[in-house]
């Protein structure tokens, strides 16, 4: 019960803080709030039994990606902006509403059954224990085994994607430098 309550609190806090985040004036404040959200999400992963994912979430998101974000925000050193919001049309509200309802349906047991397997949903979900993968103590081993067997090709493709991103970001940064040198 305590675990369920803590999960609820973490989830509600994460949603609340993300709502705060998108309405901040200072980008640094928003980045810090996002770091807290990511740590709360890591806690939720831990409760759901995905220990390795939780630790990786903190290392990669909070420890690397957000540091780069904060670095760029500090490098630009922007003043706090006046909150300026874009216009929203009635069509967009309707679309969001439809999406929300659809997602709400998918979140229910029946919808999840379709989403996850396309098989007979109720038997699939009821046949298994509610949470905690059975092999929780071997989480790292299982995840890596699956990653390097069934998902090997996806893994390789992602590695090429990362390589392309490295090359791409270097090219973008270099090009700007050359332009500056020419103009000055």
């Amino acid at each position: 019960m305590a675990i369920q309550i803590s999960f609820l609190i973490m989830g509600i806090l994460a949603v609340f803080l993300s709502g705060m985040m998108i309405t901040r004036k200072w980008p640094v404040t928003a980045a810090m709030l996002l770091i807290i959200i990511m740590m709360l999400l890591a806690g939720m992963y831990g409760v759901l039994g995905a220990h390795f994912s939780a630790v990786a979430q903190i290392i990669v998101y909070a420890g690397a990606i957000m540091v780069v974000f904060v670095f760029v925000i500090m490098l630009l050193n922007l003043p706090p902006e006046e909150l300026r919001y874009g216009r929203i049309t009635i069509n967009e509200i309707i679309l969001i509403g439809i999406g929300f309802l659809g997602a709400l349906f998918l979140g229910t047991k029946v919808g999840l059954g379709y989403l996850v397997s396309g098989l007979n949903s109720t038997t699939l979900i009821n046949a298994r224990p509610p949470y905690y993968p059975a092999e929780m103590n071997e989480n790292v081993k299982n995840v890596s085994t699956l990653m390097f067997t069934d998902y090997l090709w996806a893994f390789e493709i992602v590695s090429f994607l990362i390589l392309a991103a490295i090359v791409g970001s270097i090219v973008i940064a270099k090009k700007a430098k050359v332009n500056n040198a020419k103009s000055s």
């Binding site: 985040m21 998108i22 990606i65 709400l104 059975a134 998902y151 970001s169």
Partner: protein, 101 residues
């Protein structure tokens, strides 16, 4: 009370919608990218919850791929922001209307 993975799916839904609002309404590119990160995190939460729900670990593996894609997106996006700021000295999305006559 729904079980924990189901709650996780609902939370991921809410987080995704908040992130979507952030992308739609903010005019600052950094805020838009931060909102995209929230949306990716919501997707990750959905994957992990689905993995706990079905008692498999495929969702956790996919979560790592999403994380790698997010890292690529952040790297490229921030490099673009910096080069845009050098060219325009502004990171408002409305100021980037070069193609508009």
């Amino acid at each position: 009370m729904p079980s924990l993975p189901e709650l996780g799916i609902y939370f991921s839904l809410l987080l995704f919608i908040v992130g979507l609002f952030g992308v739609m309404f903010r005019k600052n590119i950094i805020f838009m990218m931060l909102s995209v990160e929230i949306m990716l995190n919501a997707a990750n939460l959905a994957f992990i919850s689905a993995s706990a729900l079905t008692n498999t670990i495929d969702g956790q593996v996919v979560m790592f791929f999403v994380m790698a894609v997010a890292a690529c997106e952040a790297g490229i996006g921030l490099a673009l922001i910096i080069s845009l700021y050098r060219a325009k000295s502004s990171i408002e999305i409305d100021d980037l209307r070069m193609l508009r006559g």
